[in-house]
Symmetry: C2
Subunit: 244 residues, 2 copies
């Protein structure tokens, strides 16, 4: 019986081949819509149609409708009584609500991560800090998308260390919900003279390196509060102008 030999041979093969995976169309549609939502590619209050998205993504309606259903249950999209779906509109209450929830949960996650990150993980996020500086050095083209992606990677690299399989999906859901709001603020930021995001990230890294959970939490809250505060002011002044 050559069972052992066959087994060994299979292991050799497995070591050289990378798993091809078996992603469904629905998963791709879902991921794509997620990406678009977090990245703020859709505007608040914009309505989405199944057939429209299916055409844009070059598939049939079936994967799209299931992906939309999933996004609706995550509150990333909103089902109108007319059965059409739209990205939720921005309101003052919603902004405050989202910021409070994010501070609470992401704060907890980073506090947990602070006690669990080893030098290996710290090095990873420090490298991201460097990457950020690099990007700012050749700042002639403001690559907002790249900035947003890097920011996201930075945060989730940390959250992943919190060791909670329950908190992380909740954080993802919160990013999904605040994506369209945030993007509005990001655009405004880049017009109104850029604030130094890297500074806030450095504070976070410093706190994590010292394993200071409380400081990390505070630094994080300061970081995520900025776009919300900015957006809040913008909305309030717009409302004031509109009412006069």
């Amino acid at each position: 019986m050559q069972k052992a030999a066959i087994e060994r041979n299979n292991e050799v093969i497995a070591a050289q081949l990378t798993p091809v995976g078996r992603e469904t169309v629905q998963d791709r549609v879902y991921s794509e819509l997620r990406r678009a939502l977090i990245g703020g590619l859709f505007e608040p209050s914009q309505v989405l149609t199944i057939r429209g998205l299916a055409d844009a993504l070059v598939t049939s309606t079936m994967p799209v409708r299931e992906a939309l259903g999933r996004l609706i249950t995550e509150k990333a999209l909103e089902a109108l009584p007319n059965r059409s779906v739209r990205v939720p509109p921005i309101t003052l209450e919603r902004i405050d609500d989202l910021l409070r929830a994010r501070s609470l949960i992401e704060g907890e996650a980073i506090a947990l991560a602070a006690t669990r990150m080893g030098p290996r993980q710290i090095a990873t996020i420090e490298a991201m800090l460097g990457e950020w500086d690099e990007m700012r050095a050749l700042k002639h083209k403001k690559d907002i998308d790249r900035e947003a992606t890097l920011n996201q990677s930075f945060h989730f690299e940390i959250y992943r260390c919190c060791g909670s399989a329950v908190l992380i999906p909740m954080i993802e859901s919160l990013w999904l919900q605040s994506g369209p709001c945030i993007r509005v603020a990001i655009y405004a930021f880049s017009e109104a003279g850029e604030v130094d995001t890297a500074h806030y990230h450095r504070r976070i890294v410093a706190a994590l390196a010292k394993q200071d959970a409380q400081a990390a939490r505070e630094a994080l809250v300061a970081d995520i509060s900025r776009p919300f505060a900015f957006l809040r002011d913008k909305l309030q002044s717009a409302a004031a102008k509109g009412s006069t």
Copy 2:
């Protein structure tokens, strides 16, 4: 022009008729599965098939598969690599993880509610306390389902007062995830001599009546910790027995 008269007539009609609503089949399937999950009707690790559920619910596969997809994104169900779906198995880590998340978020929700509940709302949950006592008075039949439903109503009546449209869906998601676990504990409770749930609820109501957010948070954490702690012990002793 009799426009005003017609308008008035329509109002009269509207006052007598109750809106018929337009719930889709998918919504009903989703609600039903939610109810079953929170109520612990499915066992941890149990696998569910689309066609099986469709037969059980007497519909076609279409509404079921979309409902399942939604429940998977909420982590109420789990998608296996084989593409079959099951209710997530219980592990020690998961229990601790769920309890921590629930304490954090439901604690925050009740703290917010404590400052926002008026005498009207307090009266409502006090009435539920009374209903509980009533039920315990004629305790000859242990109606576990009714107890669980009442417990759920009690908690969500409070949470609804927190004024956060973001936190409440997260809490619902957490109940969905802990439902199958909790049920195991509940059954064990009713065997092993019932602990007085009403006592914990009374503590919560007392704290809320005094608008004492911190006390309310602590009382709540004590309340929701019990089944988790019980389940934790049970699992640990089972593991100890299994390994010897």
